[in-house]
């Protein structure tokens, strides 16, 4: 169980915001954190890991206090946290295997390194230097390295945002697998709605330094749940006027769906908006294609 109540003033590109956060997360849950950039998501992870100090508050993990305004502020080394950075932060002077071995504790056997390389499917890369790896491979190494110390809390700062969608889906499965196998409590920062739906037990929406919503993804992400038979979440990539109607192209995963809409609906949308597409009164056909 994590208890986290923190306060910190942040200088961001959008001006000063007051990060004022309270949440508790149960052991073994995977929680996603999302919100516009500059809302303080990364800072929250950094504060939990001990890389940034809040001005006041209290952080406790399983009855151990990590931070207390009064007198406690454990350094990152003592917090037993696995942290995966957005830009991977692999050590360029070491091979993949050495990167993992570097993380070993004093009395820790090398077996965990081998196990993690096997689980993450990076054994064949073990003698390569990070600069020779692709983004997806680097991310797998970074994940494996973060788990060598067997932390109980895994913090992931948009680890998948730089990857193409195929690699992203694969790594999502890897993360889910590790999360269960190592019995982790995981906090994942994500921008991707489908990722949030797929991965999280609960999600927290952050706005201007405050948590503006917390709960299961479908409740939080979909403000007005449609009454449709099924719903898809996608991004508007094109709005076109054809005669009297509008055609809106929405990208969902790897597919593009074209939807006819009225002018009233169309003028509310912009390219890049996240939208919910729901279908009503239809009986969808499912056909096997492979």
């Amino acid at each position: 169980m994590i208890h986290c109540s923190i306060y910190k003033t942040l200088q961001t590109a959008q001006g000063t915001i007051n990060l004022d956060i309270f949440f508790e997360i149960e052991q073994g849950k995977l929680v996603t954190l999302f919100g516009p950039s500059g809302s303080g998501k990364t800072t929250i992870l950094r504060i939990l890991a001990g890389l940034t100090s809040p001005q006041k508050g209290r952080i406790a993990f399983n009855n151990e206090t990590w931070f207390d305004t009064k007198n406690i502020n454990l350094p990152p080394q003592k917090r037993q946290v696995g942290f995966v950075f957005q830009e991977y932060a692999l050590f360029p002077n070491m091979t993949v295997e050495e990167n993992l071995q570097y993380a070993l504790g004093k009395a820790q056997a090398n077996a965990i390194v081998q196990e993690l390389m096997y689980v993450m499917d990076i054994e064949q890369l073990q003698n390569r230097k990070p600069d020779t790896l692709s983004g997806g491979q680097k991310q797998r190494v970074a994940l494996a390295r973060a788990l060598v110390r067997k932390p109980q809390l895994l913090l992931l700062d948009e680890p998948l945002s730089a990857l193409d969608s195929e690699m992203r889906l694969k790594l999502q499965d890897h993360i889910l697998k590790l999360h269960k196998e190592f019995n982790l409590t995981t906090i994942l920062v994500s921008h991707d709605f489908s990722e949030i739906f797929k991965m999280s037990d609960t999600t927290m929406m952050l706005k201007n330094g405050k948590i503006s919503g917390q709960g299961i993804p479908s409740e939080i992400l979909v403000n007005e749940p449609g009454s449709g038979d099924f719903q898809l979440i996608g991004e508007v990539i094109n709005i076109e006027k054809e005669n009297f109607a509008y055609v809106i192209s929405v990208s969902v995963g790897n597919n593009i769906i074209k939807i006819n809409s009225s002018e009233d609906e169309a003028i509310q949308l912009n390219v890049g908006d996240k939208v919910l597409v729901s279908l009503k009164l239809l009986n969808p056909l499912i056909k096997k294609i492979s």
């Binding site: 890991a49 890389l51 990152p76 942290f83 830009e87 570097y102 110390r149």
Partner: protein
């Protein structure tokens, strides 16, 4: 035939200066690169002073400081029985001060150029500052370290004014190659002066060439 002693003395002075400066500069550069302390700018300005001050100014004040007629020099002589004026140890100390920016600047920008997440990743993996510096930071800024080492070495070889001010011209003690050249010219031995000068010219050129060559290889090898 020229006397090889000044050349050996130059090499000895450059080696000792570089070694001591390296040991002093790594922690200083680390502090300058990461501190948010207010005094930082003052320290940075002090470190850079030898870049702009005439060596004779520095030499003059060091001469005063080291002189047994003044308090610091007297203190050294009374308590440690050391006299730094016109001695090799004095030259080493003067060279360290004079070449300080040549070591600190490249190493500092080496630290500053590393992504902060490397350091932070190491901390979250439970590693101390010391382990992080020796196993992650320094090995990933080899080219900056090399630049600092070589610039310091070459700059010490090229010292003249400051050596003349506080070292004088004592054979085997403070008569380094650059002083020997001056000496030979004064005595109209142009051939000898030329021999010393040419040797210094070639050595420093080879040193610089090696650095640029190695640096190119370092930067390329990280992408292969």
């Amino acid at each position: 035939m020229i006397d090889p002693e000044p050349l050996w003395l130059t090499a000895k002075l450059a080696l000792i200066t570089t070694l001591i400066l390296f040991i002093l500069s790594v922690p200083l550069a680390y502090w300058l690169a990461y501190t948010k302390a207010r005094g930082k700018t003052v320290i940075e300005a002090i470190v850079s002073l030898p870049l702009v001050l005439p060596p004779s100014v520095l030499g003059f004040y060091l001469l005063l400081a080291f002189s047994p007629a003044h308090s610091f020099g007297k203190f050294l002589e009374n308590y440690f029985d050391v006299r730094l004026v016109f001695s090799f140890s004095g030259l080493v100390i003067a060279s360290i001060i004079y070449s300080l920016p040549f070591m600190v600047h490249p190493v500092q920008s080496g630290f500053a150029g590393l992504s902060p997440s490397l350091r932070e990743a190491s901390y979250t993996l439970g590693k101390s500052k010391w382990q992080t510096i020796t196993r992650i930071l320094l090995p990933n800024m080899r080219s900056s370290l090399l630049t600092g080492i070589v610039l310091t070495f070459a700059h010490t070889i090229g010292e003249f004014g400051i050596v003349l001010m506080i070292g004088g011209n004592i054979p085997g003690e403070t008569k380094v190659a650059s002083i020997a050249i001056y000496d030979e010219v004064e005595m109209m031995h142009y051939n000898n002066a030329n021999a010393y000068a040419l040797i210094l010219f070639i050595i420093t050129f080879i040193i610089l060439l090696t650095v640029y060559f190695l640096n190119q290889r370092f930067s390329r090898s990280s992408y292969i």
